[in-house]
Structure formats: C-alpha cells, structure tokens
C-alpha cells in the first residue's frame, strides 16, 4: 500500500469497513510509516474537534411561539 492509497482509506478504516486483507495492509503500512501515522492522528483530532463545536439554540421568541402553537393546537 502506498501513502497516497492509505490516506483515501482512513474513514473506511475508522468505520471498521475495510475487508480483512485491506485492513491488514492498512495496519502494516501504519506500523512502518510515520507520515501516515501522523496523518491518521490529525484525522482523528479533526473528527474529535468537530464534535466539540459550540451549540446554537433556538431564540426565546421562537421557543415561545412554538409552545403557544402546541397549546393552541386543537385536539
């Protein structure tokens, strides 16, 4: 496996979606290549940070309007 091939398989690897032979080749490459090891680490770090992005919230106005719509809905 080349580095150029490795970098295209990272998401499939992280999802556990590689077939057995490809996964073995991926891991073998990883063990020998500090550049790809770093690439994979940076990919993981990127994913982790995406999960930390701040939340937005509904404006109080919209929230009030929705609660009112719920209250007034004919049942």
């Amino acid at each position: 496996m080349t580095c150029a091939e490795f970098v295209e398989l990272v998401t499939a690897f992280l999802d556990g979606a590689l077939d057995e032979a490809t996964e073995r080749a991926f891991v073998d490459h990883l063990a020998e290549c500090p550049g790809c090891e770093r690439y994979l680490d940076q990919f993981r770090l990127t994913i982790a940070e995406l999960g930390e992005l701040p939340e937005s919230s509904l404006s109080g106005e919209t929230r009030d309007r929705l609660l009112e719509a719920f209250r007034d809905f004919p049942r």
Partner: protein, 193 residues
C-alpha cells in the same frame, strides 16, 4: 434522559406542554445545526426548525412508530430544509472525483518510492483558534459533505442513521464523509503551517 418514545408520543398527543417543552429543549440545538447545513443563514435554519416543530405538532397524531420519534422528527426536518435549500439555490452539484490529498504531496511514478510522502505532514501546534478554524472549514464544505460531516462528526450519528435519514448508500455516505473530513484537516494544516 428522555422517557421512552411511547411515553413521549402519548404526552404530545394529549397536549402535555411539559413533554413538548422537554423535546424542544433537548433536540432543537442539534436540529438547528443540521438545518444550518442545508440553508445559507442562521435565520433560515431557525425557520426550518420552527416549521419542523409545527409539522410535528400537526402530525404526531399520525405517527406510526415505524422509526424512533427522533428519526421521524429529523426526517421532517431534512425534507423541510431540502425544500428551503432548493429555494435558496444552495444545492451545489458535487463531485467525488479526485484524491482528497494534493497529489503533489506524494512522490511521482519516476521516483524510487512512488505514491509515498515527499515530506511527512508537519506536526500541528494548535492554539486557541483551533475550534474556530474547524468551524470555518466546516462552513466552507460543499453542501452534501457538510450535511454528512455535521450528522456524523458534529452530532455523532451512526453511519446507518445517516444513510437512512438522507436516503443515500453506505458507499456514498462514506465518500462524502471522507472528503469532508479530509478538507477540514487540510484547512487546519494550511492554517497552522
């Protein structure tokens, strides 16, 4: 923790305001982020979420329970957002062609080690800007990549959930996710070079 779906649905159907308020406060933040990946402004995203909840109020009597309540609500959101996104002319055509890392980064065919790094990626020295850099890069992604990255990485949904929600194949989902992540990584690299 929210109560089980049947309890929530019963609450909504009977007009229990506490149940509705609880759902509103638990899910709206995620829904806003998801909506924001379809439309171009925060205000539009808020409208999409509002319209979704209104559709939930009207439609919960007919909820069949074939999916979880949350999945049902998210599907309404995606449909609402898509309609609006199309109106806003934001559905950008997308292409899966080409590698996700600049081919110049790898050695050419004439080299002893073709396809291997010319120079390894540099280590990152991150600072307080990191979150903003990531947030900006997410905003720059093509629509479909941004939607998938938002669902998978920002919101933490599984691959299966995302495929079901967007009605795309597993392979398609993975390509969009991978391209989106690689783009964000490359933006971070550029910023900290």
């Amino acid at each position: 923790m929210l109560p089980a779906d049947d309890v929530l649905v019963a609450g909504l159907r009977s007009g229990d305001e506490a149940t509705f308020a609880r759902l509103l406060d638990s899910w709206s933040a995620s829904m806003l982020r998801l909506a924001r990946s379809f439309v171009s402004t925060d205000a539009s995203a808020e409208d999409v979420v509002q319209d979704t909840w209104l559709a939930v109020i009207r439609g919960v009597a007919g909820f069949q329970g074939n999916s979880s309540l949350r999945t049902w609500v998210y599907r309404i959101l995606v449909n609402t957002a898509k309609k609006r996104g199309v109106r806003e002319q934001r559905t950008v055509p997308w292409s899966d062609a080409g590698p996700t890392v600049d081919p110049e980064r790898f050695r050419g065919p004439g080299d002893d080690y073709p396809g291997h790094w010319r120079d390894f990626p540099e280590p990152w020295v991150l600072d307080g800007e990191f979150r903003q850099v990531v947030g900006r890069a997410l905003g720059e992604l093509p629509t479909r990549q941004r939607i998938v990255v938002t669902l998978r990485d920002v919101e933490g949904h599984s691959a299966e959930e995302v495929c079901a929600l967007l009605e795309i194949s597993t392979a398609n989902q993975r390509v969009l996710l991978h391209r989106g992540r690689a783009f964000v990584r490359a933006r971070i690299e550029e910023y900290y070079r």
